[in-house]
């Protein structure tokens, strides 16, 4: 079961990296969604997958009578999902705002914060990073 989950995480990360390397910011956000899900599954697999009882303590006892599943990873994932949801919602809203304000979602065309230097004379190579 761990192997299946590990493969799934691998596929999710590969797909998300592919999406995030694109220039379109919407693809980037989708890649981020996949990546955060991959991280959640990683935590899930780290907590060990076993066939065990739910971690419930019956009335009158102070500890569960038999081996129970680890509840902590689920608590962590739940927190991470909530936080991730908030951040992704913000990211999506920001991308929408960027599209309306800047008129593009192509990250190569977003040069408002760091405008390219005016080409004084045509030079070979065309450095786009400065």
């Amino acid at each position: 079961m761990e192997v299946v989950l590990a493969l799934l995480v691998g596929i999710l990360v590969a797909a998300s990296v592919y999406l995030m390397l694109g220039r379109n910011l919407l693809r980037f956000v989708f890649g981020l969604v996949l990546l955060s899900n991959a991280a959640n599954l990683t935590i899930f697999a780290s907590g060990r997958l076993v066939r065990a009882n739910p971690p419930l303590v019956p009335d009158g006892l102070s500890a569960p009578p038999e081996i129970v599943a680890n509840a902590l990873p689920q608590a962590l994932i739940l927190t991470a999902i909530v936080i991730g949801f908030g951040l992704l919602a913000f990211a999506l809203a920001l991308m929408l705002r960027a599209y309306r304000t800047l008129g593009t979602l192509n990250s190569d065309d977003m040069r408002d914060a760091e405008p390219l230097p005016e080409p004084a004379e045509p030079t070979a190579g065309g450095d786009r990073t400065s």
Partner: protein, 500 residues
């Protein structure tokens, strides 16, 4: 449970709620923000006093003992970081009385600012790895809001890059937490110190260590992960840039210092060796990037990157003296960097631009402002007797002591190149006449504006001078903090001992 530990996190949240509720009621929110920051400073000084006299202070939240519950813990490093956060918060909130326009106030600037302080304090005080992730997120979402607030074109552009790269860092951080938990079965930092000894596959542990290094490296803006910083820090108003420049990257540095002294010390030759290379490259790329810029804020942004290299260098050398230098540098840098951004804001107000070729004549306009610029600028470059000199002196002495001549030489050359950038700002903005023939003067600003803008700058400059002329107590303090980092027994005893 010590209330001192809890209040630096709770108080900014309370201030934030009040500021949010009254954000449309004129100027009241500003003053509440200032009052909240001042109260935070008082509490954090009290916390520092307690840690100084009693040693490491720890408290278990919700009555669950460590390592099961969430622990808040303050050693000297955490305590001094909280104090310096409060000082920066207070200085910037006074500056923001004038600098933030009413439109941004109505959108909730003061509330977001206080949430940011709460997140930063939380990250410094937590003793639990997952909890640290949560505080990083609190800090992050507040900084997203502040960066995009007002939604000018450049701001949105900068925010896209900032948000994208920081979210990637967040996911890497989360995955690393999951993997470390899978190997050790605990998330409590003090507990992890012993738990990592039980991990058989040390290679896997090193992989996770490098994952943490990348995650914190993006936050701290080290080479080659710093590109979001110069793309975004110059876009918002100065009162936002200054607090970002002072605090945010330093949270990444702090987290790295914590993890790579308390948890990942199993293979120092590899992990800290890697950090040393990163530190050198960070210093050099940052300072060269700054040399190529002509906007004051961009020059200062690149210098943040370059200075982060010095702090990582102190951690990477991993000797007691080097950590003394790193702690000293951290404190000195926050004060100086926030101050330089505040000075840049006044320069823009007087001359109308941040672009060096479009401005000038500031020395004639105000010799006082010129002096207030020179103090943090020369301190940044490491001129004696200012605070930056002692910080660099400690680090370079530490590297010479163990024969790391290459990094010592790099640090010295980068210091020299820093002088180049600072003199560039000096000659262009202060010395040469204004290109339009305009003669800016400090009297262009009315008395209240002048007071609100210059008071925090003068206070921070006074701190720089104090550290510079009387370094003895500060070095003694940093020495004790470094001992706590190098020998974490006291930290661990405070956390696990508090459980019994």
């Amino acid at each position: 449970m010590s209330w001192y530990l809890f209040l630096p996190i709770a108080l900014p949240f309370v201030t934030a709620v009040i500021c949010f509720l009254i954000r449309r009621c004129g100027s009241a929110g500003r003053w509440i923000s200032v009052a909240g920051s001042a109260l935070l400073l008082a509490i954090s000084v009290a916390l520092m006093g307690q840690v100084w006299s009693q040693g490491v202070v720890a408290g278990q939240m919700g009555g669950w003992d460590a390592p099961f519950g969430i622990t808040l813990v303050a050693d000297l490093l955490s305590a001094v970081m909280v104090v310096i956060t409060a000082i920066t918060g207070l200085a910037v909130s006074v500056y923001a009385l004038i600098d933030i326009d009413s439109r941004r106030e109505k959108l909730g600037y003061h509330a977001l600012f206080q949430v940011l302080l709460a997140g930063v304090c939380g990250a410094f005080l937590t003793g639990d790895l997952f909890n640290m992730y949560v505080w990083f997120e609190v800090m992050l979402i507040a900084s997203f809001g502040l960066l995009a607030l007002g939604a000018e074109r450049a701001q949105i552009d900068g925010a896209v890059k900032y948000v994208a790269l920081n979210l990637v860092s967040t996911v890497i951080f989360l995955s690393a937490i999951g993997l470390l938990y899978g190997m050790t079965g605990t998330l409590n930092l003090a507990d992890l110190h012993h738990a990592v000894d039980g991990v058989e596959n040390k290679g896997l542990l090193t992989v996770v260590a490098v994952l943490f290094m990348v995650a914190f490296g993006i936050k701290a803006a080290v080479f080659p992960l710093f590109f979001w910083l110069p793309a975004s820090y110059h876009t918002p108003p100065v009162a936002i840039s200054a607090v970002f420049a002072g605090l945010l990257t330093k949270v990444g540095v702090y987290a790295m210092m914590r993890m790579f002294t308390l948890v990942f010390t199993h293979d120092v030759a590899y992990t800290h060796g890697l950090l040393l290379v990163v530190a050198g490259l960070t210093m050099v790329t940052g300072v060269l990037g700054a040399a190529a810029q002509s906007d004051i804020r961009k020059i200062l942004s690149f210098h943040i990157v370059s200075q982060i290299g010095y702090m990582i260098m102190g951690l990477a050398l991993y000797t007691p003296l080097a950590l003394v230098g790193a702690v000293f540098y951290l404190v000195h840098h926050i004060v100086v960097k926030a101050n330089l951004f505040l000075v840049a804001g006044v320069a823009k107000r007087l001359t109308g631009s941040f672009e060096l070729s479009d401005i000038g004549g500031l020395y004639r306009a105000s010799p006082l402002l010129a002096v207030l610029f020179l103090i943090p600028a020369f301190s940044l470059a490491g001129f004696p007797p200012l605070s930056g000199f002692w910080a660099k002196f400690l680090l370079i002495k530490a590297s010479l002591d163990i024969g790391s001549y290459a990094i010592a030489a790099t640090a010295l050359v980068v210091g020299l190149l820093t002088v180049y950038s600072m003199t560039k700002i000096w000659t262009e903005a202060f010395w040469k006449p204004h290109p339009d023939g305009a003669e800016p003067a400090l009297s262009m600003l009315d008395g209240r504006t002048r007071a609100a803008l210059l008071l925090p700058i003068a206070a921070l400059a006074a701190m720089t001078i104090t550290i510079g002329f009387f370094p003895e107590p500060f070095v003694a303090f940093a020495e004790r903090a470094a001992v706590q980092l190098m020998e974490p027994d006291e930290y661990i005893r405070a956390v696990t001992g508090a459980a019994s």
